[in-house]
């Protein structure tokens, strides 16, 4: 996500370049303040997740240490003190019942959430691009078979399937990996459709015909000519998939079929929300707010990227240019 921003950032003071590639996209994205704000929020979130061990060490807490003395066992385990037990030692209070540090659990929960979502998105990209490319380049039989499979996958109740999958996988299989695989292998239909449609329109263009005339094999054309041109739409769509994947992971952990305790997860914290929302609203509000802000930021950012890469710009990115020529001509335009 942030990689995209960093690599496409133009040098300061560059004259507005004539339309070309990533530079143009970046300019359009920059014009959308909401998308920028969302990117900032996401950057902060990634930083917090990366620095989780550091920050919790600074706080002097551990996400899995129980503190019986901090909860009121007479009142069913409600944290002692105001606002869910916020204190100098426990910056965001403690978990009701167990007294585990909330700040540490929220930060480590962010790691789980982001890792699973990004991992699942990568699997979706791999499968979607593979199936979409094969469908677009294969013979008629392959195309129609893959088309049908994709249609069915898009329509199916995937959360139901993903939940069901958790029943058959052995209990000792690492859950975050399982979630990545389950979400990734089920929810690739949209990506496959997009890649297929893009490839079909790219296939008609001169540079692909030229590559074929010079004797390039299908595989070589796919790798050298098509994949670079597909990068922009695929990245855009991945940005749209990310918030969905975050919500899916949180949803499954909320249902108790996601990551296993004691691994912290925002969804898992919310699974006891209905028990605690009266007695300890802080415990419920914090993960809910974090999850809401994260999915909203990803959605706004994805929306911004999509608008920046509107269909016309998309084809302009792809038409007749390998990535390298697009980059050099962009630099030349600025000079």
């Amino acid at each position: 996500m942030t990689d995209l921003l960093i690599t496409t950032e133009p040098e300061a003071g560059a004259a507005p370049a004539p339309a070309s590639g990533a530079r143009q996209v970046w300019r359009r994205l920059r014009a959308r303040k909401a998308a920028l704000a969302a990117a900032a929020v996401l950057g902060l979130l990634v930083l917090l997740a990366l620095a989780a061990p550091l920050l919790t060490a600074l706080e002097g807490q551990d996400p899995n240490a129980y503190h019986d003395t901090l909860v009121d066992s007479a009142r069913g385990g409600v944290p002692l003190g105001d606002l869910g037990g916020i204190s100098a030692e426990h910056w965001l209070g403690v978990e009701p019942g167990t007294g585990r540090d909330l700040f540490a659990r929220l930060l480590y929960g962010a790691r789980v959430s982001l890792l699973v979502a990004v991992g699942a998105t990568l699997v979706q990209i791999l499968v979607g691009v593979g199936i979409g490319l094969t469908a677009a380049l294969g013979n008629r039989f392959v195309e129609s078979a893959l088309g049908h499979v994709t249609d069915v996958m898009v329509a199916m109740p995937l959360l139901v399937f993903a939940i069901a999958l958790m029943a058959v996988v052995p209990a000792d299989f690492p859950r975050p990996v399982l979630l990545v695989v389950a979400i990734g292998l089920l929810q690739w239909g949209g990506m496959a459709r997009l890649v297929r449609a893009q490839t079909l329109s790219l296939k008609k263009l001169d540079f692909v015909s030229a590559a074929r005339l010079t004797g390039g094999s299908t595989w070589r054309i796919a790798r050298r000519e098509l994949l670079p041109s597909l990068a922009a739409p695929v990245i855009t769509y991945a940005a749209v998939l990310l918030p969905t994947n975050i919500a899916l992971e949180a949803g499954m952990s909320f249902l108790g079929v996601g990551v296993k305790p004691p691994t912290p997860s925002w969804g898992e914290m919310l699974s006891t929300a209905t028990t605690w929302f009266r007695a300890d609203p802080m415990y419920v509000l914090l993960p809910a707010l974090l999850l809401f802000v994260t999915t909203l930021a990803f959605t706004v950012f994805g929306d911004g990227v999509r608008t920046a890469l509107d269909p016309r710009a998309e084809s302009r990115l792809g038409v007749g240019r390998s990535r390298r020529t697009a980059r050099t001509s962009g630099a030349g335009g600025a000079a």
């Binding site: 139901v160 058959v168 079929v257 209905t274 929302f277 999850l291």
Partner: protein, 328 residues
Amino acid sequence: MIGYLLRRALGALVVVLVLSAVVYATFYIAPGDPARLACGPRCNPEQIAQVREQLSLGDPVYVQYWHFLQGIVAGHDYSTGTGVLHCDAPCFGLSYQNDQQVTDLIVQRLPATASLAVGAMVVWLLLGTGTGLLSALRRGGLTERVLTWLTLAGTATPVFISGLGLLMVFCAYLEWLPFPSYVPLTDDPEQWAWNMLLPWAALGLLESAKYARLTRSSLLETLAEDHIRTFRAYGVGERALVGRHALRGAVAPVIALTAADFGSMFGNAVLTEMMFGLPGIGQLLVNATRTIDLPVVVAVVMVTGTAVVVANIVADLLYVAADRRVAL
């Protein structure tokens, strides 16, 4: 028309068959002992042996699968050692952990899920198309900006967060509503509706955001078409223009989305049921997954998958009825 229906029905049958094969393979050929898993953790070796025989696990895989299909279409007789247990079609097997036939379990859970889905559908169709309409007509104004942000926030909010928000506001702070507990419609319609209000709102709000965006864009698209411009040039009033001519073009995409979205609606319904403790199919699935009650898990997957396939055919027919430019 008849030919089209036959083709669609045949296609649907193929999809359901493939689904059944994949599901069967995933759940009964997967690593581990299906008999032990299906029977549950409290089973003794004799019970497991009986389950193994009832699931005909000694037979080759294709024979087992054939029995599974046969049970769904024609019912199945299970030997219980002392007698015969008949399971009517559609028979999805026995839930050993609940000591009940899976089909019965699902049928018991249907009313709650149907109550949730139908009520929420009313909410999201009215609210979604209404919001979309308003935001398309107030284009460029403050109303549109506010509505755009609201729908964006709506699509970004998982249902267990919006549900939680509703609970905190209406049950904890305002105390207008009791904490929802499901009352069957047949027992007490008034209590049923009262208790379903929050679940409907939670699921409906989430889904309506998608419909608002779609209605807005398809309405704007229709309003920009030539025939609308012609109508306007002839002096047709704006109200009639939208109400009588433009809306018709916007109805078809909404129907298409309803079908395309049926699957994800199921997922959100599972979350809503768990959030509010509704005894529906979603709750059945989650509990069965936690206790590894394979026959129930398999049946829920099959039933929801089939429902999606059927819903898609129905939506296609409605689409044709709504948009006369499309012929079969």
